[in-house]
Symmetry: C2
Subunit: 127 residues, 2 copies
Amino acid sequence: MIRTMSRTPLHPTREQIELPMVLDCLSDPIRLAIVYQLAQQERVSSELCCGDFNGLAGKSNLAYHFAKLRECGLMLTRVAGTNRFMRLRREDMEARFPGLLDAVLSSAAKDADRLQLLSECEVVKAD
Amino acid sequence: MIRTMSRTPLHPTREQIELPMVLDCLSDPIRLAIVYQLAQQERVSSELCCGDFNGLAGKSNLAYHFAKLRECGLMLTRVAGTNRFMRLRREDMEARFPGLLDAVLSSAAKDADRLQLLSECEVVKAD
DNA sequence: TCGATAGTTCAATAAACATTGAACATAGGA
DNA sequence: TCCTATGTTCAATGTTTATTGAACTATCGA
């Protein structure tokens, strides 16, 4: 099966989501920051595109982390033209691991500065 | 500073406990099983010794995982004679990351067989 | 059709990680 | 005092991981 760049990438089904993979994904500071920013955005538009995270790491490094977040079932990528929009798979997470994502997110929020959860441009924008 | 084997090992203070380290610790299946069994035991005696986990891995491998669990602040080791008794640092976890440990534990419980959370002798004992 | 923009994929690298067995340390009991 | 049981520490091994830059693909608009 050929995977070209233009089609939506594969995502695990809800039942395929595994706890160790999710926890491992969230244990990386960059991925935690991505998830955190996606969660912040949920109140507004629920979606962000790759470029919105450019403050966190280089492009190819981000693509690597996005792939991990997709593969573990934490987020969903939708292809639209030359952009990829992502959002958290909140309902799937809640169904599989009730309360887990919220507990991680509020724990992260408490340590927001220690964890450098906001990318530089994000911090600048906050002024 | 010399660390001999007979003294209690170092543990991080409550404030030193870091979210990424905790999540990373819990993302390993063997360590998750250790934490899960410690949590089960809480209803009874709150403590287990190293040997109680022999079904999960070899001795030296277990010692490695115990060290990680201590260093991230998830558990506490008390030396008593030739035994080391461990217990979860529940209150510290709850203070730093409210609801997190319970969410992980109940998520793990849901997938107990998929995750092979009980060591072989534990399963045998359950008969 | 050309160029710019948005991301991905690949190869290479260095660091971190899990696992093993052997050697060691410690305490308790015969 | 010696033997045994309980764990830890160390060195070696192979695997996985994160990070980088360069090459590539795909889409949009002028």
